[in-house]
């Protein structure tokens, strides 16, 4: 109970949140330990014991079939990469403004759908026969590199604009009322979801990769893995992670964001236009959602319900990692992605196939982290 007590006592300072990756060196070390709960509590020992068992179990399974293990691990890593892209936008907005953007999943899905529409309308180059599309269409349609990149950039930009509009029209005048802002974004997500269903239908669709990209790559150890997942998504996530780190750590904008996270009123008093910074942060957060939507629409699929699914993933990632922390988002995404991938394959014990119950492991992950760190791994009292 001791750390919960501490966190509540600090509850008077609302803006003490931290973008952990960006935190000044002094505070990062402080976040390594939960306030007031150093050492080895029974909970912690139990969790470490469970983690050791899980790792051993995975090693045993992995030794059975190393190639399969490698592919499953890569699946987990690439899923984590996508989750990181989406969740980092979510956590960025939360860290600075304390706005929980429940429409984040909608922005993700809308980004994907917009890119798909652009690709379909502008870049679809039919093969010889114009008819009989449904069966043979896929083989004859070719897509150039431009037909993926242009929708990606345009859709991302449009989502960024929509995000800023949401912030300016609906959220700006409710600053500080975090529950009300969450309710507003929930209302928006309901409207978005229904409108997307009306406009794009209920059938699962996906964005096509450029035809001249290889479908898979060969890795050492005779492992084959999808090119898009393994190279494009992973690369994009690494680039975005590095970019965000540099943006927050090295630029003037980042400096203001970090200062704003710590003490918004003080920043405003110093003559900085905080509203502009908020709009900027919301722009970046929405851009990341839109970008993630195009990646996800290519890597997985676009369908009604994907917005929920990615909102839930973003929630879990930031709850695990600690809300408002970029480093936490990365760790949370890794944890969720890997647990998801391993649970889908390795939850088989002899003849009993428990893969149906894999969602329980996600739940256990969430509960396990919250049991030890109620504010997430890198979370600080709000």
């Amino acid at each position: 109970m001791s750390h919960a007590t501490d966190s509540d006592r600090d509850g008077q300072a609302p803006d003490a949140d931290l973008l952990a990756a960006a935190g000044p060196a002094g505070t990062t070390t402080e976040t390594e330990l939960p306030p007031g709960a150093g050492g080895w509590s029974p909970q912690r020992v139990t969790l470490v014991a469970i983690a050791v068992v899980v790792v051993i179990w995975l090693l045993v399974k992995g030794a059975d079939d190393p190639r399969k293990f490698a592919v499953v691990t890569l699946n987990g890593l690439t899923l984590a990469a996508l989750l990181f892209v989406v969740a980092s936008g979510f956590t960025l907005i939360f860290g600075l403004m304390r706005v929980v953007n429940m429409a984040h999943g909608s922005l993700y899905l809308l980004g994907g759908y917009l890119a798909l529409e652009m690709q379909d309308h502008w870049f679809k180059q039919e093969g010889a026969s114009g008819l009989g599309l449904s069966l043979s269409g896929n083989d004859e349609t070719t897509y150039s590199l431009v037909s993926w990149i242009v929708p990606l950039l345009l859709a991302t930009a449009i989502i960024g604009v929509i995000g800023v509009l949401i912030q300016q029209v609906f959220l700006r005048w409710n600053q500080g009322q975090d529950l009300r802002q969450a309710l507003i974004t929930i209302a928006l997500s309901v409207i978005f979801a229904d409108q997307m269903l009306a406009a794009f239908g209920g059938i699962s669709k996906d964005i096509k990769t450029p035809t001249d990209w290889p479908t898979s790559i060969n890795l050492p150890g005779d492992v084959r893995f999808g090119f898009f997942r393994g190279v494009v998504v992973l690369g994009a996530a690494l680039a975005i992670g590095a970019g965000l780190y540099l943006l927050i750590k090295k630029t003037r904008f980042g400096k203001i964001v970090r200062a704003g996270v710590d003490d918004r009123d003080m920043v405003a008093t110093l003559g900085i236009n905080v509203q502009l910074v908020f709009a900027g942060a919301f722009l970046i957060g929405a851009l990341l959602a839109g970008f993630g939507g195009v990646l996800g629409g290519t890597m997985i699929a676009l369908a009604p319900g994907e917005d929920t699914s990615f909102l839930l993933s973003s929630l879990i990632v930031v709850i695990i990692g600690g809300m408002g922390s970029l480093g936490g988002a990365a760790i949370g995404a890794l944890a969720l992605g890997l647990v998801d991938a391993y649970a889908d394959v390795y939850l088989v014990f002899g003849d009993t196939d428990l893969t149906n119950y894999s969602i329980l492991l996600t739940f256990a992950l969430l509960v396990g982290v919250l049991a030890v760190r109620p504010l997430g791994l890198f979370g600080r009292p709000a």
Binding site: M1, T5, D8, A187, N356, S358, F363
Partner: protein
């Protein structure tokens, strides 16, 4: 008893009397599809409103909990799909209440350590996880849901005669309302309101804040479990789709539209929701693909948005401020539910930036 308390009992009696006579005045369709549905949705929303009004916790886990209750019942009685264990309906109902309340206490144990917006997010995650769990585990949820549930004889066959189920639901609603209102006035409820407003002081006074929150969450979970039972009695079926995020948000919408700060609001919001659900389609103008009979969710989303933007106290808040102004006889005077009008979660310190 104060004058206000007496008028409260009086209006409650009037509402119950009107509701009891409703089957004589309205068609069977209206009684079943609007009134019964509004009552059980009201119970579900009341579990949320109770936590929010007295504990300051806006929980989105209520649908997850009522889903557990409904699924347990559906699997224990005779039914198409699921386990079809063919227990007696009353025994199954008891088991459903116990299990769902236990699950709720478990959720509460984790979530009650956090506050405000964190609490909202964690409980939302719980609800969605319950949905995904039942979507994945088709041995429990059946392919296409569990259908044709065996009902207690008290309820009869709602399709033949909706009245017994209506009166059952009405009686349960009244009991739930009275019980929750009573609970809010016990020492337990008063302490709950204390730690809604001043957790740090309550802790200093020696209260175990986390455990208190958890127990309040358990009480609300019990109410949500009742709502889950009523919902499966009403629908005679349950599927993962009926406990999805959409339903979670619908219950939230009902609670918010009615008013998150007054218990009565839950049933008021549910009635508005059920009426809109059934009759809005006839009057909604058709604007291309954007609005029309098919686009009920857009409509309800807009209603929700407007209420949240204009009256954070919901319809109850509107009603109270109107009554306050009438009583004062000078429109434009300061309205009494000041607490309801302000986003209660908002921190005063953050308001300064505006």
């Amino acid at each position: 008893v104060s004058a206000r308390g007496r008028s409260g009992w009086l209006s409650l009696a009037v509402v119950i009397a009107v509701a009891a006579l409703a089957p004589l005045a309205f068609s069977e369709f209206f009684v079943s599809v609007v009134l019964t549905k509004a009552l059980w949705l009201g119970v579900a929303a009341a579990s949320l409103t109770f936590l929010s009004a007295y504990g300051g916790m806006v929980s989105l886990a209520q649908v997850g909990i009522y889903g557990v209750s409904g699924m347990v019942y559906a699997n224990l009685v005779l039914a198409d799909g699921g386990n079809a264990a063919a227990w007696s309906p009353w025994l199954a109902a008891l088991a459903a209440l116990v299990i769902a309340t236990a699950v709720g206490l478990g959720f509460g144990a984790i979530a009650s350590r956090s506050e405000g917006i964190y609490f909202l997010m964690i409980t939302l995650a719980f609800s969605v996880l319950v949905f995904y769990f039942f979507s994945q585990v088709t041995t429990l949820s059946g392919f296409g849901g569990v259908n044709n549930l065996d009902l207690p004889s008290l309820v009869g066959d709602p399709v033949q005669d909706p009245a017994p189920l209506y009166y059952t639901t009405l009686a349960v609603s009244v009991l739930v309302f009275l019980a929750l209102r009573y609970a809010s006035r016990t020492p337990f409820g008063l302490a709950l309101q204390g730690l809604r407003d001043e957790p740090a002081r309550m802790r200093a006074l020696g209260f175990d804040v986390t455990r208190h929150r958890m127990l309040a969450f358990g009480l609300a979970a019990f109410v949500a479990a009742i709502a889950g039972l009523l919902s499966v009695w009403y629908n005679r079926r349950i599927s993962p789709g009926s406990i999805s995020l959409a339903q979670t948000i619908d219950v939230l919408i009902i609670a918010v539209v009615g008013g998150l700060y007054r218990l009565e609001g839950a049933w008021l919001g549910a009635l508005v929701y059920a009426l809109l659900d059934n009759y809005s389609r006839e009057y909604t103008p058709e604007i291309g693909n954007v609005l029309g009979p098919e686009r009920f969710n857009t409509l309800i989303g807009i209603v929700f948005l407007v209420i949240v933007l204009l009256s954070p106290g919901g319809l109850m808040g509107l009603w109270e401020s109107a009554r306050g102004q009438l009583a004062r006889g000078r429109p434009g005077g300061s309205s009494p539910p000041g607490r309801a009008a302000a986003g209660a979660e908002g921190d005063p310190a953050t308001g300064g930036v505006k």
